[in-house]
Subunit: 251 residues, 2 copies
C-alpha cells in the first residue's frame, strides 16, 4: 500500500491522462498526414501511428488500473487488484522494436541494407526489454543487478548498430536529414536513459511515495518524448526527404 | 462540497455535453474537409482537428468527473473522488501551443520565418499555462498573485509576437486574409481573457455555487470559441488562400 497525498495522487492521475491523449492525438495526426509525404516514406508514418496507438492503449489501461487500485489516495501495489506496472513492459516489448524499424524505414535504404539493420535491431531490442522484466518484478537486489546487467548487453549492441552501422548510411542522405537523424538518435538514447534510472531507484534506496510519483512522471514524459516527439520528427524527416525528391505542396 | 440547485447542476451538466459534442463535430469537419484546400494548408486543418480532438477527450473526462463526483446535486470539490479541474490545465498545456502553431501554419510563410515564430510561441505558451497551475491549485492569495503575475509575462510576450512580429508578414497575404487573421487574433485574445478572469474569482471573493456555475460556463464557451470557431476561421483562411492561388471548386 502506498499512502499518497491528494496532490501526489492527482498529479499522477493527470499525468497518465496527459500521456493517454498525447498518444491518441499523435496517432491520428501521423495517420491523416500520410498523403503529404512520398509513398515510400508512408510506412515509417504508419509505424509511428502504430507505436502511439499501442502506447495509447496501454496508457488507457494504466490510467484505469491506477484509478481502480486506489481506495481514496491509497494505492494497492501488491496483491490482487493492485496497480499493474506490467502494462509498461508489454508496451515496450511491442513499441521499442517498432520505433527502431521506424528509423530504418524513414531512411528508405536499399533493401539489403535495411533488412540487415532490422534483423539485428528487432531481436536485440526485444531481448533488452524481456531481460529487464525479471529484475523489475524482483525484490532481491542481486536478482535485480543480474537481470539489469544482462539487459544492458543488447542495449549496448543497439547503440553500436545505431551509431556505427546506421551512421555509415547517413552520408548519402539529403542536407539537413543527417543532422535531424542525429538528433533523433540522441532523443532515443536520452529518453531510454530514464528507464534504467527508474529501474535502479529501489537499489539506491529511493522508495516511498515521492519516488513512486517521480517514477510515473519520468516514465510518462519519457514515453511522450520517445514516441510522440520521435514520431513527429520522423514525419519531419519524411517531409524533408519528399521535398528533396521533388514533391511539391503548391498544387 | 458544493450544494448546487437542480437548475445549476443541470446547466453545468448540459454545458459540458455541449462542449464535448462541439469539439467532436469540429474535429470530424476539419478532418474530412482537408481535400478542399491546397496541400500546403492541410497541416493547419489537421492541427485544428488535433486541438478539438484533445479538447473533446478532456470534455468527456470533465463531464464524467462532474457526474461521478456528484451525490445528487452535491458536488465534491475536495478530497478523493472530487471534481477534477486539472483536466483543463492538461488540455491547455497541449492545445494552446497547437493553436498558435495552427495560425503560423495557415500563413504558409517561408520556412525560416515560420520556424522563428514557432520556436518563440510554443515555449512561451507552454510556460504561460505551466506557471498558472500552481496558483490555480493554491488556496493562498499571495501564492495566487505571485504565479498569476509570473504567468502574465509569457502572455505579454505572446501578444508582442502575434501583434508585432506576425503583423509584419500580413502585408504579403492576399486581400481579405490579413483582415481575417486580424479578427482571429482578436478572437484568441478575447477568449483568453476569460481564463484569467476566472482565475481571479476567488481573489475577488466571488465564490459559492453561482461563481462555480458561471466559471464552468465561461470556460466552456471560451473553449468552444477559441477552438471550434477558431478552427473554422482557419479553414476559411485556408480556402481564401487556396482560391487566391488558383484552386477551383468548379470541377
Amino acid at each position: 500500500m502506498l499512502e499518497l497525498t491528494a496532490n501526489q495522487w492527482n498529479t499522477i492521475y493527470n499525468v497518465f491522462s496527459f500521456g493517454l491523449i498525447s498518444m491518441l492525438a499523435c496517432t491520428v495526426y501521423t495517420l491523416v498526414s500520410q498523403s503529404r509525404v512520398l509513398p515510400k516514406y508512408r510506412n515509417a508514418l504508419v509505424l509511428s501511428s502504430m507505436v502511439t496507438f499501442i502506447a495509447g492503449y496501454h496508457y488507457w489501461r494504466i490510467f484505469n488500473s491506477f484509478s481502480e487500485s486506489s481506495d481514496g489516495y491509497m494505492v494497492a501495489t501488491t496483491g490482487a487488484g493492485s496497480f499493474n506496472e506490467g502494462y509498461r513492459y508489454v508496451d515496450w516489448l511491442l513499441t521499442v522494436p517498432l520505433l527502431l524499424v521506424e528509423v530504418v524505414a524513414v531512411l528508405a535504404l536499399a533493401k539489403a541494407a535495411s533488412s540487415s539493420l532490422i534483423t539485428r535491431l528487432v531481436p536485440a531490442s526485444a531481448a533488452m526489454i524481456a531481460l529487464g522484466y525479471p529484475g523489475e518484478i524482483s525484490a532481491d537486489d542481486g536478482t535485480k543487478i543480474l537481470w539489469g546487467v544482462l539487459s544492458t548487453i543488447p542495449f549496448l549492441y543497439i547503440l553500436y548498430v545505431l551509431f556505427v552501422e546506421l551512421g555509415k548510411s547517413l552520408d548519402r542522405q539529403p542536407a539537413g536529414v543527417a543532422a535531424t537523424i542525429g538528433r533523433l538518435r540522441l532523443l532515443l538514447i536520452a529518453t531510454w536513459g530514464v528507464y534504467p534510472i527508474s529501474y535502479l531507484f529501489p537499489l539506491l534506496g529511493i522508495t516511498g511515495t515521492d519516488a513512486f510519483m517521480y517514477r510515473q512522471i519520468g516514465y510518462t514524459v519519457a514515453d511522450v518524448l520517445a514516441k510522440c516527439v520521435f514520431g513527429l520528427t520522423i514525419y519531419k524527416i519524411a517531409k524533408m526527404k519528399s521535398a528533396a525528391e521533388g514533391m511539391s505542396e503548391d498544387k
